[in-house]
């Protein structure tokens, strides 16, 4: 401890006691009046000054540690991003989701191509080697199809539509999140998941076609399939973009590049979750119900797909007023990666 430190400490002690209340309450305050905000800023500046002096006069002292801790607490309060309320949601739906969707457009086409290629491979595989169906379908499914019944025929007898929708949504959400997160393994995980899904789809179509049920299966997936498969392709594209950020980092470090890419693509996953929710409801209520004709299914499938395109392009909700100024301002730097 340097000479004069004790005198300085005793001189500052009364001020610290007055600041203690501010340090305790400011970080947890959800809203602050201008006076309160100014008071917090003043306390923050005072603490910064005292902390700098304390580090100089008595490093590693208990008083310095107390100042460090209080300064860090007030830093949280001062450095908190403002709440934009509705503007934040408007920015998400009108700017950030379309921006993220545009950034993975190229990859989405590539992933869709991979899905189709895998489906064709699956078709060829099961057509050439029918005995391999055991690898992608359960005994019960195989037995049902061989007796002329699709596994989807009696699905509503097993569980009601609401439960079915929930189960389908959670399954699809896990696949989508998995396809995105697996991009972390330099894209190999994503490519594996997409290829496997394509292979299974093609294989099942080939198997049902062999038993004269191909059209019935197509009829089943007509209403929910377009959006569901598109969302999986989008998630796969996002995962591939994530892997690209690791393979070809555009920021000084791979970690920074990865973080920025995840931040950019996060809104796309929100969009995927919302779309899957609708898709799950269609798959639970419309797809298994024999009352709906092919025309209705086609209408629902195409209509929902067009709705998805409008949503992802930001044209579903008309733009009114100003959106979140922070995101608008940061757009040039924030989205410069892809």
């Amino acid at each position: 401890m340097q000479p004069g430190a004790t005198a300085w400490l005793r001189a500052r002690a009364p001020f610290w006691r007055t600041l203690a209340d501010e340090v305790r309450t400011a970080p947890g305050r959800s809203r602050a009046s201008p006076e309160e905000a100014l008071q917090t800023l003043q306390a923050y500046r005072t603490l910064a000054r005292d902390l700098a002096s304390a580090r100089e006069l008595m490093p590693r002292d208990a008083a310095t540690a107390a100042l460090e801790s209080s300064y860090a607490s007030l830093h949280v309060a001062v450095n908190r991003s403002p709440r934009y309320g509705l503007a934040r949601w408007r920015t998400l739906f009108l700017e950030r989701i379309p921006q993220a969707a545009r950034s993975v457009r190229g990859w989405a086409l590539c992933i869709a191509g991979l899905l189709v290629a895998s489906a064709l491979a699956g078709w060829w595989l099961i057509t050439t080697y029918p005995e391999l169906i055991g690898l992608i379908a359960s005994e019960r499914m195989i037995d049902g199809v061989e007796h002329g019944h699709l596994w989807t025929d009696q699905i509503l007898n097993v569980a009601p539509s609401s439960v079915l929708s929930l189960r389908i949504f959670s399954n699809n959400a896990v696949v989508t999140a998995g396809a995105f997160c697996a991009g972390l393994f330099f894209g190999l995980g994503t490519l594996y998941m997409i290829s496997l899904n394509g292979l299974m789809l093609g294989g099942l179509l080939a198997f049902t076609h062999q038993h004269g049920l191909g059209l019935a299966l197509l009829r089943f997936i007509l209403a929910h399939g377009p959006v569901e498969l598109s969302v999986i392709c989008l998630a796969g594209a996002a995962g591939t973009a994530l892997s690209e950020s690791l393979i070809r980092p555009r920021y000084p470090t791979r970690a920074e590049s990865f973080r920025r890419c995840a931040e950019l693509l996060g809104p796309l996953l929100v969009a995927c979750a919302l779309l899957l929710l609708g898709s799950g409801l269609i798959e639970g209520f419309i797809s298994p119900n024999p009352r709906y004709s092919v025309q209705v299914r086609l209408g629902v499938g195409l209509g929902y797909w067009v709705l998805m395109l409008l949503f992802l392009s930001g044209r579903l909700v008309p733009a009114h007023g100003e959106s979140n100024p922070r995101h608008s301002r940061d757009k040039s730097t924030r989205y410069s990666m892809i």
Partner: protein, 246 residues
């Protein structure tokens, strides 16, 4: 393994140093949280089951009303279990009950509270961090990364740091009061305050030994014989007197 630190540039230009939580703190916080969410989910399940059983007058619950049971009992309990972390981290600003008990909180690399998007991204990557089982990948990543982060933290740009804001010994109020009321050297006063704070946790022999040692150096007005004859309560009172406490 030394303590990692995160240095953050303050808005005033004065840096601040946050201590990064290690694997042990993470594991401790997770185990507490895991128990809480498991208990919550099981309690909901049990309560729902009991209500459903009463409703079906002792009949089979699942055959009585499977949809209501699945949507009203099973689904909420699963939501409690799986959404515990993302929801509580959002509501408690980067903390959960487990993290609070372990004395840790989440911050961004700028030392601020993470945004909702970052917290959701962090939790999404649990899918990878839990692979192949029991958070093995996440734990390995924590051990080998500079700031003890798992993949979720890397994606969200968050760091788990020790939360010293609730530490009594680092309270500005306490430090100010100590310096105002005591005529002792500030370091000696802080030392006595520490001993008094830990008085209940120390073994009687040990705390008496510590108190006598401190009084020997700081309370020169008392003779060694008198000091040696002081009882435990008297020793404590003498230390409090030195601090200027009434």
């Amino acid at each position: 393994m030394g303590m990692e630190e995160l240095t953050v540039r303050g808005l005033t230009g004065v840096d601040m140093t946050l201590t990064v939580a290690g694997v042990g703190t993470r594991a401790y916080a997770f185990i507490i949280d895991w128990h809480i969410r498991l208990l919550l989910a099981l309690s909901w399940l049990l309560l729902g089951w009991l209500i459903a059983r009463i409703g079906t007058s002792g009949g089979s619950v699942t055959t009585g009303s499977p949809t209501v049971f699945l949507l009203g009992v099973v689904t909420p309990s699963m939501l409690l279990y799986f959404l515990y972390h993302p929801v509580l981290e959002l509501v408690m600003q980067g903390r959960t009950p487990g993290k609070r008990m372990a004395g840790a909180r989440l911050v961004t690399r700028e030392g601020a509270t993470p945004a909702p998007g970052a917290l959701l991204m962090r939790n999404l990557f649990r899918l990878i961090d839990t692979l192949p089982a029991f958070y093995a990948l996440g734990l390995v990543t924590c051990v080998f990364t500079a700031q003890r982060v798992r993949f979720g933290d890397l994606a969200a740009g968050t760091v788990l740091v020790l939360d010293e804001s609730s530490s009594k010994s680092k309270s500005l109020e306490r430090m100010g009061a100590l310096l105002q009321h005591s005529t002792l050297d500030p370091r000696a006063a802080a030392l006595i305050e520490d001993v008094l704070e830990r008085w209940g946790e120390l073994e009687p022999q040990r705390r008496m030994q510590l108190a006598r040692g401190l009084l020997e150096k700081l309370d020169t007005g008392t003779s060694p014989e008198l000091r040696g004859a002081l009882e435990e309560a008297q020793l404590r009172q003498r230390l409090q007197d030195l601090l200027g406490r009434t």
